[in-house]
């Protein structure tokens, strides 16, 4: 019987384990996770976990769910190295060290916050946010903090800003790019978001970087590139993530800003697969391999990897999707708006086109449009912009209509 080893007990790893069983795999399924906690969802960490007292942890799957399926879960266990030729992994679990053989291996090690060395002089006043401990620590510090500076105007930084304002802090966001969430959003949405944050009372400094940081009488004193100074009693560094791809790189996988995988989640090494935040994949919407850092993708990609490990060769073509909640507004993006060259506004939904092809959609408090838009993107909808502009025709109806020639 084939043994499946999954490294990383996050969304991708747990989804893979479940999908292996769903596809009828009867051999061993072992998930090894470095964190001590039962696998949990990260999205609440920058939202409800920060703003609500004792917000319960949201488990990805219950212990019973995993048990019923005969999925073994080793927590607080770290895969130190993999011998791809021998098909085995060396795992450290507390004081124990053991070697586990596998037939197929899935690397779902996720990503870690990018370190910002210029903040190091601030010591304990700096927080990063990826895991449960960091979220709990941030929550208790936000409750006491007066002035919070968030370095990075990406999705995590802005969600923390939104939570911190709600808790009554004075909040400044520093973003060196000329607009917010520049990688993930079209320019129009960035503008709306800037408005939203400024209206809520967040000081947003765009187009200016952090020059230096020092500790003065227990306070953080930050100096910006333009010479401005800001004092803070808490600094949150949220300048993006780096994929945890070192293990894969050492075992021989081709790696370039993430583990390179084909449409079947296969790496360059036989019997080794990768999925989720750590993987850089080929995708029909993009010419270059992309990394998708989103909750739904991690689950779907993980499940896809599982089926591929069992021999399924259908290519992964799910349309990336993420949501973010800021100041009570729900923003959702399907597809890749960054690749678009024109945009069509339909009320609270914006459609993004590359030439005459629909490649993305953004909704503001209008999630119901995402599904039909996703269908259209997946089906390769292309046609005259005029066909999309009439807001009186529901997108759902456009999605059902045959694609215009």
């Amino acid at each position: 019987m084939t043994a499946m080893l999954i490294i990383g007990a996050g969304e991708a790893g747990i989804a893979a384990a479940g999908a292996l069983r769903e596809a009828g795999h009867v051999g061993r399924v072992l998930v090894v996770g470095e964190e001590p906690h039962h696998p949990y969802a990260r999205p609440p960490l920058s939202k409800a976990v920060l703003t609500e007292d004792a917000c319960p942890v949201e488990h990805i799957r219950s212990a019973e769910w995993l048990e019923e399926r005969g999925i073994e879960l080793w927590l607080g266990a770290c895969v130190e190295s993999v011998d791809a030729a021998a098909h085995s992994a060396e795992i450290v679990r507390g004081a124990e060290r053991c070697v586990v053989p596998y037939d197929k291996l899935l690397i779902a090690t996720g990503a870690a916050p990018r370190h910002l060395p210029s903040l190091d002089p601030l010591g304990g006043l700096v927080t990063y946010l990826r895991n449960w401990e960091e979220a709990i620590a941030l929550r208790s510090r936000l409750a006491r903090a007066q002035s919070v500076v968030i370095v990075g105007g990406g999705v995590i930084g802005l969600e923390v800003a939104s939570s911190a304002i709600k808790l009554g802090c004075t909040v400044t966001v520093i973003e060196p790019a000329p607009r917010l969430m520049a990688r993930a959003l079209a320019a129009g949405t960035s503008e709306m978001l800037l408005d939203l944050h400024r209206t809520a009372g967040v000081y947003v400094r765009l187009g200016v970087g952090l020059a230096s940081a020092k500790l003065v009488d227990g306070y953080a004193e930050l100096t910006l590139d333009d010479g401005d100074r800001i004092d803070a009693d808490l600094v949150v560094a949220a300048i993006g993530v780096v994929p945890n791809d070192l293990l894969a790189s050492r075992l021989g996988c081709a790696v370039d800003q993430g583990i390179l995988v084909d449409a079947n989640c296969a790496t360059s090494v036989a019997d080794v697969f990768a999925a989720g935040d750590v993987a850089r994949l080929v995708h029909p919407l993009a010419d270059e391999p992309i990394r998708v850092e989103a909750w739904q993708h991690a689950r779907r990609h993980g499940a896809h990897a599982a089926r591929a490990m069992l021999g399924d060769t259908s290519p992964y073509a799910e349309i990336p999707w993420f949501w973010t909640d800021q100041h009570g507004v729900n923003i959702q993006v399907a597809g890749l708006p960054g690749l678009a060259d024109s945009h069509v506004e339909r009320g609270a939904t914006t459609l993004h086109l590359q030439g005459d092809r629909l490649i993305a959609a953004t909704t503001i408090d209008n999630g119901r449009d995402i599904r039909p838009a996703t269908k259209m993107i997946a089906a390769g909808w292309s046609g005259p912009v005029a066909a999309l502009t009439d807001p009186s025709i529901p997108l759902a109806r456009l999605a059902q209509a045959p694609i215009p020639a």
């Binding site: 739904q296 949501w323 999630g367 119901r368 449009d369 995402i370 599904r371 759902a396």
Partner: protein
């Protein structure tokens, strides 16, 4: 009383494109119409704070507008991640152009 029928909407007000919202004993419910038949469930997603009436109806499945959780509107059962708690669902009847509902035991 939940074992009684409660009028929640006029049939003319429920469209096939979009669920309507009604109220039963202070609970918000969503009323759906598919191929001429009416269905009703709780309107609040069991995963987070979202109204299913703002979601997307695809056949007998309602998709939550926040995280795309799916429920079967015929029985309130979960039909797609991330939801894992079923919705309350209601029996539905039409009396004189009025949609009436009753909590299903």
């Amino acid at each position: 009383m939940s074992d009684e029928w409660t009028p929640v909407a006029a049939t003319g007000d429920v469209s096939e494109d979009q669920p309507s919202v009604g109220n039963v004993d202070g609970a918000e419910i969503a009323i759906y119409k598919v191929d001429g038949d009416y269905f009703a469930t709780s309107n609040i997603c069991t995963h987070g704070l979202a109204r299913l009436s703002d979601g997307y109806l695809d056949g007998f499945l309602i998709e939550c507008p926040l995280h795309q959780g799916l429920f079967d509107i015929r029985n309130g059962k979960c039909a797609g991640d991330p939801v894992d708690v079923d919705l309350a669902s209601y029996d539905v009847r039409v009396v004189n152009d009025t949609v009436e509902v009753r909590l299903r035991a």
